[in-house]
Amino acid sequence: MNRTRQIETALRTMDAAPDRHPTSNARIDVLLERVVVAGTAEDRAPAPPTTAAFAHRGPKPRAARLLLLTGGLVAATTAGLLLIPSMLGVEESAYASWTAVPEALPAQERPEAAEDCRSAQLATPGGDAHPQLDDATVAIAERRGAWITVVLAGADGFSATCTADASAPFGDGWIGSAGIPTDWELLGPRELLVSSLGVAHSSGPLSMAEGYAGPDVTGMTYDSAEHGTVVATVSGGHFAFWMPGDELDDDLVFTTGVPVDVTYNDGSTDSVNLRF
């Protein structure tokens, strides 16, 4: 037997989890039922977010991560980001009108969309903790089918985001966030800073990426396995895109990151991984 095999045979005798002592059936069954109950409850009704963690690392500013909600308010744990109640009872068919390429909201519709977002944010418990909302201006106002996304930008890096089904009254259900990333600072010309990246599990999962973009950034696309090329809106120092489904899940976000293609004002492009 060669030496590698000898070593690995010896290693197997040192297994920290030998099969000689299997777990009791009762314990196995308890865990199974625990998961079935939790999973079934999650499928039947809007569930709280699985996590509400905000990662801040190193000297570079890092924004808090939005865990897109399916219901209920989650208080931000850091950086004053407020997570907003979301689309209660939204069916997957509600995303049927969604488009991979957004349209800019017409100029005459932007003020109303901005005011709706502002009002909805202020009406949320804790929303009055962001006086910057009053003076925040529209950085992004896009439409994807029946859905509108508004990003409001204020002083010192403040931003507020709202995504809502415009075919229903705004207050019926929307998702969003508001706040300032910890240690926020002005971005370099080609820099990107993520503020929201993740999946909401409602009756229909939704994946969103949103954040700040340096002045040389003019475009961004994401190559979705399910939806093809998803085009982001890049405007006013911000970027945003979203899509139905759970493609931007933790496995992606916390490992390789979300790969996007970025276009700059000199026509050059680059591939970048969005991550916290």
């Binding site: 070593i7 010896a10 005798t13 989890a17 079934t40």
Partner: protein, 191 residues
């Protein structure tokens, strides 16, 4: 007979996947976390399996490896922030098998000493190397499935495994000699 609802079908499918995967997945987790954390990690992992049931591979071996990948990501995600790592170290048994175990009735003192050496050498391995070896030695995965767990190519995995084996041998070969309890031939092979 009333038709099976989608919810009932999903539950039935999940229970089948659970039955298939649970024991091996528990061992996978027990090799990587302390005993107090195992149940919570398993619950989190299987909840992800529930949500992504449509992504579970159809063959049992692929499904087994897929659940390992989910558990690995659950564990790595839990270690966010400053402590975040990109590989999971693998624990070894703290004690040799019990004396009642048939397999070790005839264990000699030299063999015990070799295991101690091996345990020490293992500690000196990086998490990346422990992880690569662990998937082959303890989980018994072939290169394709082990690579899938790690999210790398099979070629990259084989290279990582080769380096891990070499590193382990180097650590084994550079430990101080210890007195043997019996007069026996040296156990070091000639290089």
């Amino acid at each position: 007979m009333s038709p099976i609802t989608p919810a009932a079908e999903k539950e039935r499918t999940f229970r089948a996947v659970y039955a298939l995967a649970h024991r091996d997945l528990e061992r996978f987790v027990r090799r990587r976390v302390g005993p107090d954390a195992v149940d919570d990690v398993l619950a989190d992992t299987f909840l992800v399996v529930w949500r992504r049931l449509r992504d579970v591979p159809t063959t049992p071996e692929d499904a087994r490896a897929w659940t390992f990948a989910v558990a690995r990501n659950v564990l790595l995600t839990q270690r966010r922030g400053d402590d975040r790592r990109h590989a999971l170290g693998v624990r070894l048994a703290a004690q040799p098998p019990s004396e009642e175990d048939e397999a070790v009735e005839a264990v000699e003192a030299d063999a015990i000493a070799r295991r101690v050496d091996l345990g020490r050498a293992w500690i000196f391995l990086s998490d990346v190397h422990q992880e690569a070896l662990g998937l082959t030695v303890f989980e018994g995965l072939d290169a394709v499935r082990a690579a899938a767990v790690l999210g790398i190519s099979p070629v990259a995995y084989r290279l990582r495994l080769t380096r891990a084996r070499r590193a382990l041998r180097l650590h084994l070969d550079h430990q101080p000699q210890r007195p043997r309890t019996r007069a026996a031939a040296p156990d070091r092979s000639t290089r």
